[in-house]
Symmetry: C2
Subunit: 384 residues, 2 copies
Amino acid sequence: MEQQDPETTPVRTIRVELGARAYDILIGPGLIGTAGLEIALRLKGRRMAIVSDENVAPLYLAPLVESLTAQGIEATPVILPAGEKTKSFEHLVPVVESIIGARIERNDAVIALGGGVIGDLAGFAAGIVRRGSRFIQIPTSLLAQVDSSVGGKTGINSPQGKNLVGVFHQPDLVLADTAALDSLTPREFRAGYAEVAKYGLIDRPEFFAWLEAHWREIFSGGEARIEAIAASCAAKAEVVVADERENGRRALLNLGHTFGHALEAATQYDSARLVHGEGVSIGMVLAHRFSARMNLAGIEEAERVERHLRAVGLPTRIAEIPGPALSAERLMEAIAQDKKVKSGQLTFILTHGIGRAFIADDVPGSEVLSFLTEQLRAGDAPGA
Amino acid sequence: MEQQDPETTPVRTIRVELGARAYDILIGPGLIGTAGLEIALRLKGRRMAIVSDENVAPLYLAPLVESLTAQGIEATPVILPAGEKTKSFEHLVPVVESIIGARIERNDAVIALGGGVIGDLAGFAAGIVRRGSRFIQIPTSLLAQVDSSVGGKTGINSPQGKNLVGVFHQPDLVLADTAALDSLTPREFRAGYAEVAKYGLIDRPEFFAWLEAHWREIFSGGEARIEAIAASCAAKAEVVVADERENGRRALLNLGHTFGHALEAATQYDSARLVHGEGVSIGMVLAHRFSARMNLAGIEEAERVERHLRAVGLPTRIAEIPGPALSAERLMEAIAQDKKVKSGQLTFILTHGIGRAFIADDVPGSEVLSFLTEQLRAGDAPGA
């Protein structure tokens, strides 16, 4: 793996221009070690609660606390079990009480140190303590760095579904330490990469072409990786600035997610079978294939998408999911329960081709069901 | 009591001009019976969850449901125990799950039918279901009609203090049915009146003079009552529009509240001893007396405030609170724990006289302590 030298690799800065709530995303190796300085430059508070999990804390909590202490910032760690089950009221309530107990006031902050689960939970807690406390994201997974840490969506799951409870609460600062990605497993890295590719597929065809040419460098960890993360954050920031609360265009970020969520639900969120980014990978291929079936785009576009995702090692077909076979009916049921259902009508992100995604809010359920039945009947094998 | 005829008494409308989140406050007798119509005129949703409590539901749930059903709106009631203890995570979680279970989607709404506790809890639940659902306030107490239902502050209490957890979430509509006030006890009505008087004391000296002249008509329930409620809502709306998230001027609404909260905390929120509005009444007199002591205003201003609040039957002295005597030290402790403490400094709303309140963020704790000691030593008796 190519080594990055924190002394010479420049830190990229993406500004999210949200008026009075504008904030910086810094991207580069070694940012956990310089977090105290970056925070002290921007926030007046001298008390921070650090929310992390049992996997991430042993790796990065000590250097983060040290870097805060060096700036005179008092840090209170709140460590949770790792995993999706932590995104629940059961864990939210003690986190909220720990933050209040740490006497976090208006100028102080809550720091999320971890992946998407920790960012979503800690952001929600920050959003409701004293009707909104300052919040800093230090994402340690690729998925969190390019997607969930940017844009202010926070929340937990309810027994009825994922992310059904939460608030929009923008961070005051995002520190994406790219050196932290070296501790990810290849499977975790690939899952995050699905969201990177998504930005190309939505509206940046030239970025998708660049990914096709440079993905090996991104996976090996050099400058191209930082470049890809910065481009992803910039793409997401642009959408968030245009439509912070998802009244319109922001829904494009759900490309591949309606099918993806249905696959996650149908496999009971069992990460041994499927993780979010893998569901999105299969979902994006399905969205392109479904668009081709509806005569919205050529089938060669779907094939090109599939070729690239397969090249990086992501699953692209439902049949690749290990375990009991899934039925089209079970998937349709999960789609109907998805939160993006509007007055009974199905809303999908479809596409006219790579980089030409759009919001379709009148997709007939019957078409989706026959498409899924067809995909599953065809053996759903690559090249089928 | 003067009877209001819903057929002839006009409904007042106050518009809260918050841009894309602007909303109407309607004030008048009989609005619960016409709620369905008013809601159908403004919201597209056809599913509503009604959050209420065991005291209010027997009186007003049936006519509200009937009025919604007549407009084709399906209503799901969620009934909670009455009282401040309901403002907790313990009750919030099942309310959130009931709202999700009632399949409340983006265009549907959560309705709060009750006093301040129900409005704060239901508003918080609406604010976090699907990261913000539509919300309608139908306040049934005077306090809720003139204060808590307007302005978007929602929340629950934590073991460490009141209202420490919540969000800013503006309603889409407020229906203040003034006929509902006829079911309040005189003590409840008086407690709400303290907040009405507050608007005069903050920056409307002519309104305070009008209250001195007309309070008997307001208590007896005629046109003057509607007028006073409308003027209070207009005063609050103006402050909220200028400073929605309390970064500045909105703090003026806390006039009398720092002392008031301390009194509530020191009496363990025991409503047999003190309710919120009574604490605010005593607190407003203390704020005026303290301002006089600091040579900010003449003592005759404090005496005039006290005379009026005493005339309507509100307590104005600490010694009037039944039960064990309170100490200045216990009150100071409660003040220090109050959420309005900023970096150890005491923030108070002080005044240059009636209608001339201002934010003082550098009040020395030692001055407050000797003031309270003095007030308690002087026997704290009226005219002392």
